[in-house]
């Protein structure tokens, strides 16, 4: 198999080992046949989004070809903040634990203005979740663990040194030309999934564009290796004495690496600012003149918030940065891309199995375009707050900062990046609207909240999200109704409180009552969850006809509204 060419030990090595990996070119048997080989799914791009999508599809039994134009994993730390939701998705893909083991977990953020601390915030102020609000982890580690997982799945055919140079879409698929070090070859795909990053060559090959705003500002992003006793928190400064008039962001990463973002202003010369002799004094100003550090990686960025008008173009589907881009404030780039992948995987699996109409893929477009708009809105607002574009915008920004010292209301106005949370798909055609009254946030379209559980007769904690099925799941707060057992493709989980009459026969015991509380559940309440763990329907007293109708709606709705 071509896959064995990847040095497995190096994937679990240090950052230096991982960044040094050069995957050797291996000629693929597809290159030696007269007629192009047919593949159901071709994914272009082996970054966090493409690999997550490949793993999800393979775990569902779908063979996938992954093409990457490079022979290396991410160079430099790039995306570093991975959210609770991303970790939960990766848990389902069997790769969450190495990420958490290696990553730096954090929940707290602090905001400073000039030389004062303004306030701090907690992104996960409640107990009863398996995963933290965020981990910080260099993108090369993320890619290494995802590649390691992909190599365990024989249905994934990873091809490096494979650049897509032509794409001919048809009604039933696309013809893909792949350039390799020893020539071009063609393959046929029923579906092409473009996860090829913000500059997406596939977007260009299809003649598509992304639209939006590019911000007139420049930022220096630097990774610094040092021993420092800063706490594991996100620190954000407005107008600090060590970098007057601009903002600075500090994050801790594994291996004593720290990420520092310096706002530079629009007039900064990116080539000059990239030179170490110009970066080092900026870092020294932050750390103090005696600081002992080493510069690992740096880049100068201009931010853009943009997206394609549509993510689905017949049998070519865009996900992640190729479909949409946000500024880094809020960690919404890679995290939203992984959520794209999760949304697409189960739907494509159903379509490939002929269990759903192709219209289900249009709902991927509708749902994730909606999510992209939400991410872009949040990211744009944060960027406008951090880098005010007019005198009056700066005036109000400074007023909010000044008030925030003393007044809690103003702290909520201060926007240093509203950090990534999964979109609630409010208007999805796959949701069945509530017929009864419920409280709380777990409405149709929301991602299910985690909660600690245990199985009867076993003291060990089992997390609710991990107990869900890979297909649809019905959570019953009470015994599973007899008719529910007959539902095809549905995992039933009966949940009981400790001491309840049916507790001994329940699948899960809600040990702290948090699931019932978060879902506003009473005896008899049921929730229907999609394979991507979004709530799509709920009832106080479900009946078979209602649940069957909701299931059908969740897999066969046309993309009419959103």
């Amino acid at each position: 198999m071509p896959n064995t060419a990847i040095p497995l030990e190096a994937l679990r090595g240090s950052g230096a080992d991982i960044q040094a990996i050069q995957i050797p070119y291996v000629r693929h048997p597809d290159q030696d046949v007269a007629e192009p080989v047919q593949h159901p799914v071709v994914i272009v791009g082996a970054g966090p989004v493409g690999l997550s999508l490949a793993i999800d599809l393979a775990q569902r039994g779908q063979p996938v070809v992954v093409l990457d134009n490079d022979c290396k994993l991410s160079t430099g730390s790039r995306a570093i903040c991975f959210s609770k939701r991303t970790l939960e998705i990766w848990d389902r893909l069997g790769v969450g634990q190495p990420m958490v083991d290696k990553g730096v977990s954090w929940n707290l953020g602090k905001v400073f203005a000039q030389d004062q601390s303004l306030y701090q915030f907690d992104l996960l102020p409640e107990d009863g979740h398996e995963r933290p609000a965020f981990i910080n982890l260099q993108q090369y580690y993320v890619e290494a663990y995802l590649v390691e997982r992909a190599l365990q799945l024989p249905l994934i055919d990873l091809r490096w040194h494979s650049k897509v140079t032509a794409l001919t879409p048809r009604a039933d698929g696309a013809s893909v030309t792949v350039e390799t070090p020893d020539g071009d070859y063609r393959i046929e795909a029923q579906w092409v999934l473009a996860c090829d990053g913000s500059r997406s060559p596939l977007r260009g090959l299809l003649g598509q564009e992304s639209h939006g705003r590019i911000f007139r500002d420049r930022f220096l992003i630097a990774d610094v290796k040092m021993h420092a006793d800063f706490p594991t928190e996100r620190w954000f400064w407005f107008d600090p004495p060590f970098h007057p008039g601009q903002s600075v962001l500090l994050h801790r990463q594994p291996d004593d690496v720290w990420r520092v973002d310096f706002q530079l202003g629009w007039d900064a010369d990116p080539e000059e600012e990239k030179r170490p002799e110009n970066i080092v004094p900026r870092i020294r100003a932050l750390l103090g003149k005696d600081a002992d550090f080493e510069l690992e990686w740096a880049s100068v960025y201009t931010f853009a918030c943009l997206r394609m008008d549509r993510f689905v173009h017949g049998r070519v589907v865009f996900a992640g940065d190729s479909a949409h881009g946000v500024s880094p404030f809020g960690a919404r780039g890679a995290n939203s891309g992984v959520q794209d992948a999760e949304n697409l995987a189960w739907k494509l699996d159903r379509v490939l199995r002929a269990q759903a109409d192709e219209a289900l893929i249009d709902t991927y477009g509708a749902e994730r375009e909606y999510a992209a708009d939400e991410n872009i809105r949040n990211s744009t607002r944060a960027t406008d707050f951090i880098t005010p574009k007019s005198e009056i915008s700066r005036l109000f920004r400074d007023a909010a900062l000044a008030l925030a010292r003393e007044h809690e209301f103003a702290r909520r106005i201060v926007n240093s990046g509203r950090l990534s949370v999964p979109a609630t798909l409010h208007y999805s055609p796959l949701n069945t609207p509530d017929g009864e009254v419920f409280d709380g946030t777990q409405l149709p379209g929301a991602v299910l909240s985690d909660a600690p559980m245990r199985r009867p007769g076993d003291a060990a904690t089992i997390w609710l999200l991990r107990a869900l099925g890979s297909d649809f799941t019905l959570l019953h707060f009470g015994p599973t109704p007899a008719w529910a057992i007959e539902l095809a493709g549905v995992t039933n989980l009966s949940i009981a409180s400790e001491g309840e009459a049916h507790a001994a026969h329940a699948d899960l015991l809600d040990v702290q009552g948090l699931a019932a509380k978060r879902l506003d559940a009473r005896a008899g309440t049921s929730y229907l969850l999609r394979p991507d763990q979004h709530v799509c329907a709920r009832w106080r007293r479900p009946d078979e006809a209602g649940v069957r109708a909701a299931l059908q709606r969740a897999c066969s709705a046309t993309a009419s509204a959103v």
Partner: protein, 88 residues
Amino acid sequence: MLLSTRPNLQACDDFYEALIATHQGLETAQSHALNARLVLLLANHIGHQGTLLHALELARTSAGFAPAVAELAERGAVTPVAPVHAAA
């Protein structure tokens, strides 16, 4: 709920005098900064989104300006709208 523009100030002249006095001795820039804080403080007190949006609209139109555009794409005058193609 729309913004009420019926007379409602308990002591209209006293308030107006206090407002002007609050700005006493300030440079214009300092007065602008004070006004910005005042807007945020009063907006938080009102809280209700519809009322606040109505106030923003009234303030703008009474000054003879066309209503503000909130659409992202229409804010191109502030920052450029740029298509990003594969060649970017």
